[in-house]
């Protein structure tokens, strides 16, 4: 009836922790990742010969332990393979790109650990080439060991910007400036909340010392309000806390306004049946709290799955305290980095600002749609406005579209998942992958260690 005890989707900290723990308990585990190596985004590994990026010794040690543990576990790997969803018959669907086909696995349990995506607030010109996310810039540095070329500006909100700046500087090309809408240094003692969180504090101090040493301009209380082409470069328009405007000419800009769960379209957590798998999300795709919490939540997910498969009491409690500590630490950071001008009002952006890049839908389109008959549901905004209808399936516009709808209709409970729903394929799927005689059923194509 079943081909596998467990499919774990995602080779980041949550997926590795879950796969390792379940394998150690004797379950038959297949780990799926879209890339060809373990690590996910946070522990993206350098290619052969590349220089590793600067990171704290805590982070390096966490990866060493995770990696060593899974090396000793009998996990089966399916790399270069994208999770497509769980279908109505309970099949776990995976696009195996090594084989160029859809593979259908009957698993008794599925742990979905597909991480986080970055939040990016739309600004005029955010869709231009040369505009990347700070996380996107960072994973490429981790992969290649080289800094991005040219004049690079980092802009948005949150501690990742400092980390990326320090890593760029260490690789030989410091950013032109960091544009930060919050002002974490000015806040009366809020940073003290980090003191109990030694690892995060060490990370923060390490990156801050990099900023100071390389004399990187960290412009707090400043916002990047628009981007435009300027010859072969980009013109970035800044607004300082005192209202003063400034334009910088740059080659690339990296945006970042926080992270959120990459939970778009995913099947809901569910108890297993004789035909449907037990499903649980783990790590940042359950709650975006970072690498430490993700690893703990991977353990939690493993305990939940083990309890289900072996019908024994659950021993997940040990992870929960640690996750709560990380939640508290993230709350401290959020307070420290709160934008000094308050949360951005997206409806105040210029009307022609692109909100949904995939379908080229603008703020004015959403205002027009919502201006008529009052509150529309997420489904109606999607269908009639085409917001979240495109290839990213809402990963970069569902949050922003929902926020705009709430600004226009105060009190509306609309959230991103009201637009995106839950359905497969959770990522676009090449039709060619479905053209075998039938969806390839589980086989020995996954690689045993």
């Amino acid at each position: 009836m079943f081909d596998r005890d467990v499919v774990v989707v995602g080779g980041g900290p949550a997926g590795i922790a879950a796969a390792t723990a379940l394998s150690q308990r004797g379950f038959d585990v297949e780990l799926v990742d879209q890339r060809a190596q373990l690590g996910g985004a946070i522990y993206r590994q350098p290619i052969a010969g590349a220089r590793p990026v600067k990171q704290s010794r805590f982070a390096a040690r966490r990866w060493q332990h995770l990696h060593a543990a899974i090396q000793h576990a009998a996990v089966t790997y399916r790399f270069s393979s994208v999770f497509v969803g769980v279908d109505g018959h309970g099949n776990t669907l995976i696009e195996d790109r090594n084989q160029g086909r859809l593979v259908s696995v009957r698993a008794r349990a599925v742990v979905i650990a597909v991480g986080a995506v970055e939040k990016v607030i739309p600004r005029p010109g955010w869709d231009l080439p040369g505009v990347v996310t700070a996380g996107g810039l960072q994973v490429m540095m981790k992969e290649t060991g080289t800094a991005p070329q040219g004049r690079v500006l980092l802009a948005g909100n949150g501690p990742l910007l400092i980390a990326v700046a320090a890593q760029m500087a260490a690789l030989g090309n410091a950013p032109v400036a960091i544009i930060e809408s919050g002002n974490p240094m000015a806040i009366n003692g809020n940073g003290l909340g980090l003191l109990p969180h030694a690892e995060l504090l060490a990370d923060a101090l390490g990156y801050l010392s990099g900023i100071v040493r390389h004399r990187i301009s960290w412009r707090r209380g400043t916002e990047l309000i628009a981007l435009d082409r300027a010859g072969s470069q980009l013109a970035a328009e800044l607004r300082h806390a005192d209202g003063r405007r400034e334009t910088l000419l740059i080659d690339q800009v990296a945006l970042h306004d926080g992270i959120r769960s990459n939970n778009f379209g995913l099947p809901a957590d569910q108890a297993g049946t004789t035909t449907m798998p037990f499903i649980t999300r783990a790590g940042d795709c359950r709650e975006a709290l970072g690498a430490i919490a993700s690893q703990l939540d991977g353990m939690r997910a493993a305990a939940d799955v083990a309890a289900y498969l072996s019908r024994k009491p659950n021993d997940a409690a040990a992870s929960l305290d640690g996750i709560a500590r990380q939640r508290a630490a993230q709350a401290v950071l959020a307070t420290m980095f709160a934008p000094i001008a308050g949360p951005p009002r997206l409806t105040a952006l210029p009307d022609e600002t692109i909100v949904c890049r995939c379908e080229r839908r603008r703020l004015q389109d959403l205002k027009l749609l919502l201006g008529g008959t009052g509150a529309l549901s997420g489904r109606e905004i999607k269908h009639n406005g085409r917001f979240t209808m495109g290839a990213c399936q809402g990963r970069f516009c569902a949050d922003n579209s929902a926020r705009i709808a709430c600004e226009l209709n105060p009190g509306s409970p609309l959230v991103a998942s009201d637009l995106t729903g839950s359905r497969w394929p959770v990522r676009p799927l090449p039709i060619s992958a479905l053209l075998g005689d039938e969806p390839a059923h589980h086989d020995q194509s996954a690689r045993d260690q």
């Binding site: 890339r35 990347v132 290839a391």
Partner: protein, 84 residues
């Protein structure tokens, strides 16, 4: 075309072993990945396959440049330039 290069719009792009197509194009200073399926410029953005903005045609199959390992001899073009 050298042994360690692929073709981007018929131009050879060198890469290092293990590198993604996106990383190799960035190293070659290619930031505009050509017209996407709506005719707007594609570009590297999120680096983790989520945003779909770096979609390119790799030997005729649409793939995210950030997820796809570079291999010698691949013919890569903008997603919107395909004659389909």
């Amino acid at each position: 075309m050298t042994e360690r290069s692929f073709l981007w719009n018929d131009q050879p792009i060198a890469f290092r072993d293990g590198e993604s197509i996106a990383a190799a194009l960035a190293a070659a200073n290619v930031r505009d990945l050509g017209p996407d399926l709506l005719g707007q410029p594609a570009r590297y953005f999120c680096g983790i396959g989520a945003c779909q903005a770096c979609l390119v045609s790799v030997d005729g199959v649409l793939r995210e440049a950030c997820l796809t390992p570079a291999r010698a001899g691949l013919a890569i073009t903008p997603a919107g330039a395909r004659h389909v």
